[in-house]
Amino acid sequence: MDNKDEIICRCQEVTRGEIEAAIEDGATTVEGVKKRTRAGMGLCQGKTCQRLVMKIIAEKTGQKPADIVPPTFRPPVRPVRIGVMEEDADE
């Protein structure tokens, strides 16, 4: 079955086909896939798709699951209203 159109990252609507293309383009890490496709850059910050992206990378590149690590986590790890930060910056 052709699963290329399956949506893997629903926040940014990135398909399996687009992630596979990113790997074919040279991505070997979650970070590499993220930078090429925006997978994991939406509201949930990869909480839903990251494991699937890791699995696709492992399958396509032959790396061991242990070696595929999440991308760098930066604040905020949860959605917060940007205005809250702004208000502080004005002080």
Partner: protein
């Protein structure tokens, strides 16, 4: 930005975080707990079933009642519980960024703590297949929250994917809530969860289809049905075995994984242990990570059950308070022995053995890292 100083800051007011708070605050330490939800108790309030274990583990008591007991104990112990409070980052290994309050009425502040305990829990694994983003496909945990906390039935004709304890228990509770569970679909050749839960499902007439998977969900605007198929010994669908099942809801109970973002951000070293849900923070016997002063407890350090999360929380809270001198070491040791003993019991038996071995591997990884020995890769 306002900065608050405290002895111990705990992220997560679920089973692990609340127990950590109770242990620590009872020694006299100043404890602050932060949780993004509007109610404390984590997953306990959706658990209407009775817990396993012995009397010390409050076995035979329903999960939500354990939650009520913990809330009462927290209230009496003097820990400050901040709800609707998101810990959005961890800085310099000892400061949390917090946004507290309802949207548009939030306050933003920093909490500098002598010890931090991360107890943020786990999240549900997701599964992708054609149609998996249709409305009606959801995590089994989400369905459980809907029926048991919000009293909303997510659908009437349900397929459950996964026969671990979550899949079995949530299926039964969906039936109690009035839904029809058409089938439980399990990829592995045997049922994943406890026989006692599986037995209740089978007696209610629900088929548990092992060596089966879901190939796709279909429907115009929402789920109207699913195609399921049998798997061969290599987990490949057997052509011709496809069945079309009309349903309106597909629940995914395909495991959980630890919410390790804050641990990564703090700089905690991780070990890859599949039995615990993937990459998990290494910790010592006292739940302290490779970042001094940062502790972990509960599902963030390996997906288990509420009962083990409570014991890990007890251990982390006590250890942090002891490190700050709020309880003398001899008294702490005695309490710790009791927690460790109960934890060992929870990790015994056929189902506990795998987790016991995995947890031992995690602690060994911590000590190897401290000694500079390369961390053993998971297989």
């Amino acid at each position: 930005m306002k900065q608050i100083n405290t002895d111990i800051a705990i992220v997560g007011a679920g089973s692990a975080g609340l127990c950590a708070a109770i242990q620590a605050a009872n020694t006299g330490a100043k404890v602050m707990v932060f949780d993004e939800n509007h109610k404390a108790g984590g997953q306990l309030f959706k658990q209407i079933h009775k817990f396993f274990g012995s009397r010390e583990h409050r076995a035979g008591t329903r999960g939500f009642l354990i939650g009520e007991q913990l809330l009462q104990e927290v209230e009496n112990c003097g820990a400050e519980v901040h709800l609707n409070s998101v810990a959005y980052g961890i800085f310099d290994g000892n400061t949390l960024g917090i946004v507290e309050g309802e949207p548009h009425h939030e306050t933003h502040y920093a909490v500098k703590a002598k010890k931090i305990i991360l107890a943020g829990g786990a999240k549900e694994n997701y599964m992708a297949f054609p149609g998996s983003t249709l409305p009606g496909v959801m995590g089994a945990g989400a369905a459980q929250t809907m029926i048991n906390v919000n009293r909303v039935l997510p659908g009437e004709k349900i397929i459950m994917v996964g026969s671990g304890n979550v899949g079995l228990i949530v299926s039964y509770q969906l039936m109690q809530a009035g839904a029809d569970v058409l089938a439980i679909v399990e990829g592995a050749p045997k049922i994943g969860g406890y026989g006692v839960h599986a037995g209740k499902i089978r007696r209610a007439g629900v088929p548990i289809l092992v060596s089966h998977t879901i190939l796709k969900a279909y429907g115009e605007n929402e789920v109207e049905g699913a195609i399921i198929a049998q798997l061969d010994d290599h987990w490949n669908p057997i052509p011709g075995s496809e069945q079309d099942v009309k349903c309106d809801t597909i629940c995914l109970a395909v495991g959980l994984n630890p919410m390790t973002e804050l641990a990564y951000m703090a700089g905690c070293q991780m070990a890859f242990i599949p039995a615990l849900g993937g990459h998990v923070p290494m910790h010592d016997e006292h739940m302290e990570t490779t970042v001094p002063g940062v502790y972990v407890a509960g599902d963030i350090t390996g997906v288990e059950e509420a009962s083990t999360a409570m014991e890990e929380g007890n251990l982390a809270g006590l250890s942090a308070a002891c490190a700050l001198g709020y309880i003398d070491e001899a008294a702490a040791k005695e309490k710790e022995a009791a927690f460790l003993n109960r934890m060992a019991m929870l990790r015994s038996g056929e189902f506990g053995e795998r987790r016991r071995t995995a947890k031992a591997e995690q602690v060994a990884a911590f000590h190897n890292y401290q000694k500079g020995i390369g961390v053993k890769d998971g297989e």
